[in-house]
């Protein structure tokens, strides 16, 4: 493989594949180049991931404080919003939002929990507690 790494990333796990892009030069011709994406692309991607991580951490704190149910945490962890979660789990949107309350979540039956667990790709036991 290529020895040269993408210089704009500090973490070598990211940004290490080369993609094809087009450009327009002074001569009036369009050219194809294969290369890493640059600093501008890294910035806007980083912005999205920063927001996701922030939201995940915030959700975790709220769940630990007993203000939200684990569904909220796993929803953020899977980069979902309530709309997408309801589509994935096959549960209506207002019920999904209702299950965000910790008290309601505790009384959920196994069938519903199983639906959430499948959507998050985890087991029901993992869904019940988030500390691990």
């Amino acid at each position: 493989m290529e020895e040269n790494l993408n210089p704009v990333y500090k973490d070598k796990a990211y940004g290490q594949h080369r993609e094809l892009s087009y450009s327009y030069g002074d001569g009036g011709t369009f050219e194809k180049t294969v290369g890493f994406h640059g600093e501008a692309d890294r910035l806007i991607l980083q912005q999205a991931w920063d927001l996701f991580h922030e939201r995940i951490e915030e959700a975790r704190q709220r769940v630990l404080a007993g203000k939200a149910s684990p569904v909220v945490y796993f929803m953020e962890k899977n980069l979902l919003d309530p709309m997408n979660l309801s589509m994935m789990a096959g549960i209506s949107l207002w019920r999904v939002k209702w299950h965000f309350k910790p008290g309601v979540f505790k009384r959920l039956n196994d069938k519903t929990l199983q639906k959430y667990a499948e959507a998050f790709n985890i087991t029901v036991d993992q869904l019940r507690k988030i500390e691990s």
């Binding site: 796990a13 990211y14 940004g15 290490q16 594949h17 080369r18 993609e19 094809l20 892009s21 087009y22 450009s23 327009y24 009036g28 011709t29 369009f30 194809k32 294969v34 600093e39 501008a40 692309d41 910035l43 806007i44 991607l45 912005q47 999205a48 991931w49 927001l51 899977n78 980069l79 979902l80 919003d81 709309m83 997408n84 589509m87 994935m88 959507a119 790709n121």
Partner: protein, 333 residues
């Protein structure tokens, strides 16, 4: 086991790359910009009511699947398209078609795609790739985003083909079944250009085409007051991500469309299209400039020349230019 002699070539945009690679396999030589242009892939829409990753959706392309559908229809290529309810059925059908000797295009979700670059791993259900063989539950994949060929196992492939959420692929698979020996490409190009021009300037609805760009500019001026600095910056980032990120070949497909116009002018022997391709290139460069300044803004280096007003002015300028280009293009014969 099957492994077709498939030639993998990288492409800027996943769907037109897949279209090109599939047609090339059937001995019809076509370039990626050509496939994109005939498929009328260029578009603009800004949908503030449809949130994607916590920000309004901006799209620089048409509905997924349309590029392949349009391009093959205009070229007179016969195709087969299937969607499924049952994941098991879809995999059986895939094996069957591969054994008949056809490479197959698939629409997949990217979140669970194991070989996908980690920084792009978000919920996006409109990615396209080609399967060209399988052996003992391993499938051989040609993904136009990647430099090299990749592999995926049965369970993972089933999961990505049945990714849920917005624009769920439902196991959509498509492949050309019969490519005519002689294809007249000229009428297809003219029709593709007309369709794109109509999409951009002909539809009387404020959120799409050139009007959509102006609408976005108008909204952008109010973001900072309305949403606060952090959220406004994130909204701007979302526009840029849609424009520059994976699968647009840069500047929201404007470069690739310029390359298409360049090629079309020689095929149709109409020199004025070449002039327009210069315009389109300049236009693409201003989009690039816009995204560069925008990304500086996202990094919170709030200089006056990167304010939302300035960026919105830039968008208006781009919209005016694109209106001129597409008005001219709509007169093509």
């Amino acid at each position: 086991m099957v492994k077709l002699a498939f030639e993998h070539r990288q492409a800027g945009h996943c769907e037109s790359g897949v279209t090109r690679n599939l047609l090339n396999y059937h001995h019809f030589k076509i370039s990626e910009p050509m496939a994109f242009g005939i498929g009328a892939g260029l578009f603009f829409s800004y949908l503030p009511f449809l949130k994607m990753q916590h920000a309004p959706t901006t799209s620089f392309r048409v509905w997924p699947g349309q590029v392949f559908d349009r391009a093959t229809r205009e070229l007179g290529v016969k195709t087969a398209v299937h969607t499924f309810r049952n994941p098991k059925d879809s995999m059986d059908k895939l094996n069957e078609v591969l054994e008949q000797g056809y490479p197959v295009g698939l629409q997949v979700g990217t979140f669970h795609l194991p070989f996908f670059p980690p920084e792009y791993r978000m919920h996006y259900n409109m990615h396209n790739m080609i399967v060209y063989g399988h052996e003992n539950g391993t499938y051989f994949i040609s993904d136009t985003l990647m430099e090299n060929l990749v592999e995926i196992n049965y369970e993972d492939l089933m999961r990505v083909r049945f990714a849920k959420g917005a624009f769920a692929p439902q196991g959509r698979m498509y492949y050309p079944t019969h490519v005519p020996a002689r294809i007249d490409i000229k009428p297809a190009i003219v029709k593709g250009i007309r369709k794109t021009a109509n999409n951009m300037v002909g539809i009387p609805f404020p959120l799409i085409g050139v009007k959509g760009i102006r609408y976005l500019a108008g909204r952008m001026r109010k973001w900072e007051k309305k949403l606060g600095e952090a959220k406004a910056s994130y909204y701007l980032g979302q526009v840029l991500r849609m424009e520059e990120e994976v699968g647009t070949a840069g500047a929201g497909f404007r470069f690739i469309y310029g390359a298409f116009l360049e090629e079309a002018s020689t095929v149709l022997n109409q020199p004025w299209l070449r002039e327009l391709s210069f315009e389109m290139g300049e236009n693409a460069n201003s989009w690039r400039e816009f995204s560069y300044l925008g990304s500086r803004n996202c990094k919170k280096r709030g200089k006056p020349d990167q304010s939302y007003d300035f960026l919105a002015d830039m968008l208006i300028e781009i919209a005016n230019r694109e209106e001129k280009i597409f008005k001219k293009l709509s007169t093509i014969k």
